[in-house]
Amino acid sequence: MSKNKYNKPCAFCLEKSEYVDYKNIKLLTPYITKYSKIVPRYYSGSCLRHQKMIARAVKRARFMALVPFVK
């Protein structure tokens, strides 16, 4: 069975990034739905390690009003 719905590889694993920046809105947009919720792992295809980083970055961006909590 495939790991995720669309059989995508983790985008951050391909880049071998160790940190997801909360200021980088361009990077975070694909991981936020149109209701500004965090996209679950089975849609985005990100691995658990990077999903946790993404979630942390999105929450930080929300706190600093870069990204809305609710749309």
Binding site: N7, K8, E18, D21, K23, K26, R62, M64, A65, P68
Partner: protein, 210 residues
């Protein structure tokens, strides 16, 4: 707050001094001199505590994603600095008490962090157009790239039965081409007939009007 013995027991080496980044949102209504005053206070505080600001980003007034203290806009500033990890709470205390600071966030930045300007981080209108195109391209790539497992399987089979596969492929290609040709031929033919009928109707109407 923190006992001094801890500070003495851990002598600082350049590796242990941790890098931080501080994002501050100030009130947008203040004058330039007032904002500079506030920023200078923060700079002083960092320098007095033995920290060093090695980079500073000013994003100027930006729209907030939601209202904070009845403000729709905020003056964003980011400091990148080194600081003593034990004293970092004191810096936050001052920021919490400062009434001209809407929000602040202190984050430990990783060692190999590359500072990027705002233009690379933010989404512009050009990017939105580009991203749409990129999304389409990506979607196309995924259609071909996603079923990797299914693509690999026929390759193995080809080795066993190369001739059959090649014949099948040829047939498929031929069929596809034939279908495409048929479609291409059909569409303009239909259009011409429609156009003729339309033209006739228009001509008749024009006659009536004239």
């Amino acid at each position: 707050m923190v006992p001094k013995t801890v500070e003495n027991s851990t002598p600082q080496t350049p590796d242990e001094i941790s890098r931080y980044e501080l994002m501050v949102i100030l009130f947008p209504d203040m004058s330039d001199t007032d904002t500079e005053k506030e920023l200078n206070e923060i700079r002083k505080h960092i320098k007095d505590a033995g920290g060093e600001i090695y980079h500073e980003d000013i994003w100027n007034i930006r729209d907030l994603a939601y209202t904070i203290k009845k403000q729709d806009k905020g003056y964003y500033v980011i400091f990148y600095f080194t600081y003593d990890p034990i004293k970092i709470k004191d810096l936050e205390k001052g920021l919490f008490l400062n009434q001209k600071v809407l929000r602040h966030l202190v984050v430990k930045s990783p060692k190999d962090y590359v500072i990027k300007p705002l233009s690379e981080l933010e989404i512009t209108e050009e990017d939105r157009k580009k991203t749409r195109m990129e999304r389409e391209e990506e979607a196309k790539k995924k259609k071909y790239g996603a079923p990797r497992k299914t693509v690999k399987k026929p390759e193995k089979e080809v080795k066993e039965t190369e001739e059959k596969e090649s014949k099948k492929e040829l047939k498929k290609e031929v069929k596809k081409e034939v279908k495409k040709e048929i479609k291409k031929e059909e569409k303009p033919a239909m259009d011409i007939s429609d156009l003729d009928s339309k033209l006739n109707s228009i001509l008749e109407d024009s006659d009536l009007k004239l």
